[in-house]
């Protein structure tokens, strides 16, 4: 049945955008936890742990996000006999993916703190965990915020890939709307505009953070 593209469709697309944001939020949370662990492994004084962190990053970054989604959604039922919902599959795949990228970004930020800060704090008897907590991370956070927000923008856009496993977010809702209205141009223009409305403020924020964080202490 073909119907006209109307305000109601825009309303539904906006509703679907909530799931884009929800998936982004969860992926950022999960990816943030994984990323924190990976970044700490990468700067650990123990060489095998550093290698473990590096291995994780190269494996995850070497495989397309789409493949991760397929692995968890279609692969798990076959391999482990577990059926997973698109929600779970998307969340896990995106967390793994975001974890690798955030881990790599944050590793760089931790390593941007001069070696002398490590030496001075070690000389005072601080443990590795205390060095990170009191000396390195507080300084690295300032460096980390702009690229992290930048990655968040990537993440929002990349959640559109979850459409392929039937996760109904903005892009999938656009496909569904198009299949009933046959107005692809209008539909996808609206979809694009909604993505832009979510990403643009973040990009601007990231830019202004870069400016302010550079000049202040």
């Amino acid at each position: 049945m073909i119907r006209e593209f109307s305000l109601v469709d825009i309303y539904y697309l906006l509703l679907a955008a909530r799931w884009t944001l929800a998936l982004t939020g969860l992926a950022f949370l999960g990816g943030g936890l994984v990323g924190l662990l990976i970044a700490v492994l990468r700067v650990s004084p123990v060489a095998p742990l550093r290698a473990l962190g590096a291995g994780y990053i190269s494996i995850v970054q070497g495989i397309p996000l789409l493949a991760w989604l397929f692995v968890f959604f279609f692969g798990l039922p076959i391999l482990a006999g577990v059926r997973v919902s698109p929600w779970i599959a998307a969340m896990v795949a995106f967390s793994i993916y975001a974890g690798a990228f955030l881990g790599d970004i944050w590793r760089g930020c931790l390593q941007a703190i001069p070696r002398q800060q490590w030496e001075a704090s070690a000389s005072l008897g601080l443990s590795f965990a205390d060095q990170l907590r009191y000396i390195i991370v507080p300084q690295a956070v300032r460096v980390a915020i702009p690229p992290t927000v930048g990655f968040l923008v990537q993440l929002i856009k990349n959640t559109s890939l979850a459409a392929v496993i039937g996760f109904v977010e903005l892009t999938r809702e656009g496909q569904l709307t198009n299949s009933t209205t046959y107005r692809p141009f209008t539909v996808y223009i609206v979809v694009a505009a909604i993505y832009f409305a979510m990403c643009f403020p973040l990009t601007q924020w990231s830019r202004s953070l870069e400016r302010t964080l550079r000049v202040s202490r």
Binding site: L124, G125, L126
Partner: protein, 243 residues
């Protein structure tokens, strides 16, 4: 018993031997000045003593504990060996008070009030009692270095290592830091200092060590070593720095 003992210490960076069988003992209360060209190994020797650098041969014993033994708890040991660096290395995101109290509070579990008290006493020793709430970037180089000294002193170490702590300062600021250093020396602290301030070394050090190509080339009472160099290497070095 000696406070520090280095025996046949060898340190290599790749194929480059930086310390070549260095042996030295330091008694409690001694003030040892180490002089020598850049690259002679003097800073590296200091950094080996608190385990910032690993060694490839020999042994280093501090107060009965072998620094280069993997079983030694370096964190415990470092609480008793203070080090002050050429580039101050204050924590830029923390106030002067927090710079000083962080380790006493986190490492030794000291209460907040006691730690602030400790900080103000340590700052008084370096003549900066009024800077307790300042941030490092509000201080001059000399003041930052004095805070770094106070930060080390607040851990109440048995040994203080000073690694060219005035080399980044202009002459005026050097003076104020050396004055603090002299005061600490008078209070009986055991100190090892790598320095280019020959006059200061002569006045304050109980022993002077001249290092050359990774070895202790000459050593003895500061006055004697400086007045009568026994080797051409020291004579050339003194000629270069004194003129």
């Amino acid at each position: 018993m000696s406070l520090v003992e280095l025996r046949d210490v060898v340190k290599r960076f790749g194929a480059n031997t930086v310390l070549d069988r260095v042996s030295l003992t330091v008694e409690p209360g001694e003030i040892i000045a180490v002089i020598g060209r850049s690259g002679s190994g003097k800073s590296t020797m200091l950094r080996c003593i608190n385990g910032l650098e690993s060694i490839q041969g020999g042994r280093i014993v501090f107060d009965g504990e072998t620094v280069n033994d993997p079983a030694t708890n370096l964190r415990k040991l470092r609480q008793r060996v203070g080090i002050v660096f050429q580039s101050y290395n204050l924590f830029p995101h923390l106030s002067v008070e927090r710079n000083i109290t962080l380790a006493p509070r986190v490492v030794k579990g000291m209460e907040r009030d006691a730690a602030r008290d400790l900080a103000s006493r340590a700052l008084a020793r370096v003549g900066l009692a009024d800077k307790i709430d300042a941030y490092p970037d509000q201080l001059s180089g000399g003041q930052q270095q004095r805070v770094a000294i106070a930060r080390s002193l607040a851990m109440q170490p048995q040994l203080m290592l000073f690694d060219e702590i005035t080399s980044a300062l202009d002459p005026e600021l050097t003076g104020e830091v050396l004055k603090v250093l002299e005061q600490v020396a008078k209070e009986g602290m055991t100190m090892m200092l790598v320095t280019h301030e020959i006059g200061f070394a002569r006045r304050v050090a109980t022993r002077l060590i001249f290092m050359h190509s990774g070895r202790i080339w000459e050593a003895g009472p500061a006055g004697d070593v400086l007045a009568k160099p026994r080797t051409p290497e020291l004579a050339t070095f003194l000629d270069a720095v004194l003129h």
